[in-house]
Symmetry: C2
Subunit: 349 residues, 2 copies
DNA sequence: TATTAGCACTCTAACACCCCGAGTGCTAAT
DNA sequence: ATTAGCACTCGGGGTGTTAGAGTGCTAATA
């Protein structure tokens, strides 16, 4: 056998081992492989090959007299094989009709982002039994299109923030002073010409800068405008949707209490995952991170499958599944990919 | 010893056993009680008393040669003793100043109910290491005060729903037809005179009835009004806030995997807990349910401490802590009670 | 009559031990 | 290059033993 190149049969045996282990979490032995899959060779041969695979760091033995289980590197090769070959038949009982219907369902929820995305994570997790994640279009990174201010009762104002993705948020704020609708119109005109096109992050920076430097210069109206804008833009950054923790504890992979603690900690440290998701939201299509490949310490024993969704050509958010490294990658990829596609379609209309 | 009446020393010994077990989850033996607490009697005497307590069903032995642990009934008596005696010194390092400051913090979030209540559950859970729950003022059960409709762009309308507790929700809806602001005013006037004072639940019923019976009779405007009202009132009923699952798995009480599964299932079945909370939201002040006292199968091994919060005299919602039956009741009661008080104060202003 | 000391008894957790079976690695034959 | 055969290894499950903690009971005591 060559140093670098792995011959086709070897690859297939790796594939078989991984697939067997995924469907049944028992170390897989040579006899089993030789019997179950038809490679036309005896257990002894398989043994040799598996031994090679172990040397390559693709398989490992829990202990001497046990079968092999895949290493993270082994899963990696398996996933790469999956993705280079043609679409696998999915293991979940959802077909394309489901996703078509689902797109319509999401479409109907378009006005309620948070409802829509909690629906998405619920579906992801309940169909897969893994943990579903979703990042809605982040205001920070979207372009401010316009803000509208409507007078409400007393000194209260309804601020409606519109970005390129549509209405993001509306909230009621107290202006402090009693402004007329025409004042509000002047304020929003000012804000829209001044800030239109910037991302919300940038606007925040500008605001902070201005407040420091030029405070004294402004007239009352502008000062109100800034104040209102500040209030209207102050979103919580905790905008990540997670669900499915409660199913995942039933997976055999989490029969060990310490694994559950790991996963609990990982989810609790939302900001870490958030950061990772943000980094990944530049990637195109489906992306898989396996165990130790993961930059986040807390996720080193888990795998994460992500896919960005888009509006037109712009990637505006991301959905994901988190599960054990012994994950049904075929199914997870299929789900994540198609759900992301549903969301994209929703934004297109 | 009398049949029914338990003498004071016996009670105190029960108290000691429970408290010891709560602070350290080991069956407590007679020698230990006699040494640690000063009852001025020997282990043998304690043993007799503990044996009596076991006959009364207040203590139990995991096995013959182990110490005693409290039964649910034992915890019940303990909690009753707690509540009849004067306020215990709390075990958490929060004093009244904390709650005063906390009230202000909540005050500032009053415009953002969901933010406020997720803040509440986070605080509850992180300070106690149990699971924090909160039920915001339920729209269904609150009285509809008025609805305001503001024209926004195109056929879109901002609907602002006001109840006796203040602004509950504002959402953007599409009217379908292009209405002027004065039409909207007529619609909202109609809705307000027609439905003001009813609870939202009742309104929903009325709407359904009317839609069936009188559909043909209405003019266009009223039909729009109903349509809008329907849309505006269609809240998700998933309005319960939960947090702290991730800390609770670290408690020694959940070192057993099956216990974790129990608790995971309990939380997943939100509607059950929701129902319980609804039932409890008529109770006055703090309420404790211990293990088997619980009507919900899934919670039979857990305890729940609840407290309603009020606006004036009306109880409008509830907060709670869920933990193991071996719970720090003193601390949990203290936290729940005071947090509920903070919320009440917030609504008063 | 309530309390206590003393003692026999019970039960668990921990450890040692053994054996079975599954699965391997190696070697020699094909 | 493949294979059959065989010795070897290791974990899991069952058994036996022991130490220690805690009890219940009895008889003595205040």
């Amino acid at each position: 056998m060559n140093r670098k190149m792995i011959d086709s049969r070897t690859k297939q045996i790796l594939f078989a081992v991984v697939q067997s282990y995924i469907s049944n979490p028992e170390p897989v032995g040579s006899r089993f492989v030789s019997k179950k899959y038809n490679f036309g060779c005896s257990p002894a041969t398989i043994r040799n090959v598996m031994s090679d695979l172990e040397d390559l760091g693709l398989l490992a033995q829990p202990h001497t007299s046990a079968g092999r289980i895949p290493t993270d590197k082994g899963y990696r090769m398996y996933v790469d094989m999956l993705q280079s070959s043609e679409p696998q038949q999915n293991d979940f009982d959802v077909d394309m009709d489901f996703f078509a219907a689902y797109t319509n369902k999401l479409e109907a929820m378009k006005n309620d982002m948070s409802g829509m995305f909690s629906e998405v994570t619920n579906t992801l997790s309940s169909m897969s039994n893994y943990i579903g994640l979703a990042l809605p279009p982040k205001p920070d990174r979207t372009t401010f299109n316009r803000i509208d201010l409507l007078k409400y009762r007393g000194d209260q104002i309804v601020a409606i923030l519109v970005t390129d993705e549509g209405v993001i948020k509306n909230r009621i704020i107290a202006s402090g002073s009693n402004l007329e609708q025409k004042d509000l119109n002047r304020i929003s005109d000012y804000l829209n010409t001044e800030y239109g096109g910037y991302t919300i992050d940038e606007i925040r920076d500008i605001l902070i800068y201005r407040i420091k430097k030029e405070k004294a210069l402004w007239d009352n109206l502008i000062s109100s405008a800034i104040k209102i804008c500040e209030q209207a833009l102050s979103f919580s950054d905790e905008d990540m949707f997670v669900s499915g923790f409660y199913d995942v504890v039933n997976l055999p992979d989490f029969s060990d209490i310490s694994r559950i603690k790991d996963i609990a900690r990982a989810i609790k440290e939302k900001h870490l995952i958030l950061k990772l998701m943000n980094e990944l939201s530049n990637t195109e299509g489906v992306h898989v991170m396996i165990g130790s490949e993961n930059p986040i310490e807390e996720l080193r024993k888990l795998s994460i499958v992500t896919s960005t969704y888009k509006e037109g050509d712009r990637k505006i958010g991301i959905v994901a599944l988190i599960g054990p490294t012994r994950m049904n990658y075929t199914g997870a990829i299929y789900m994540v990919e198609n759900i992301a596609r549903c969301i994209s379609r929703t934004f297109e209309r």
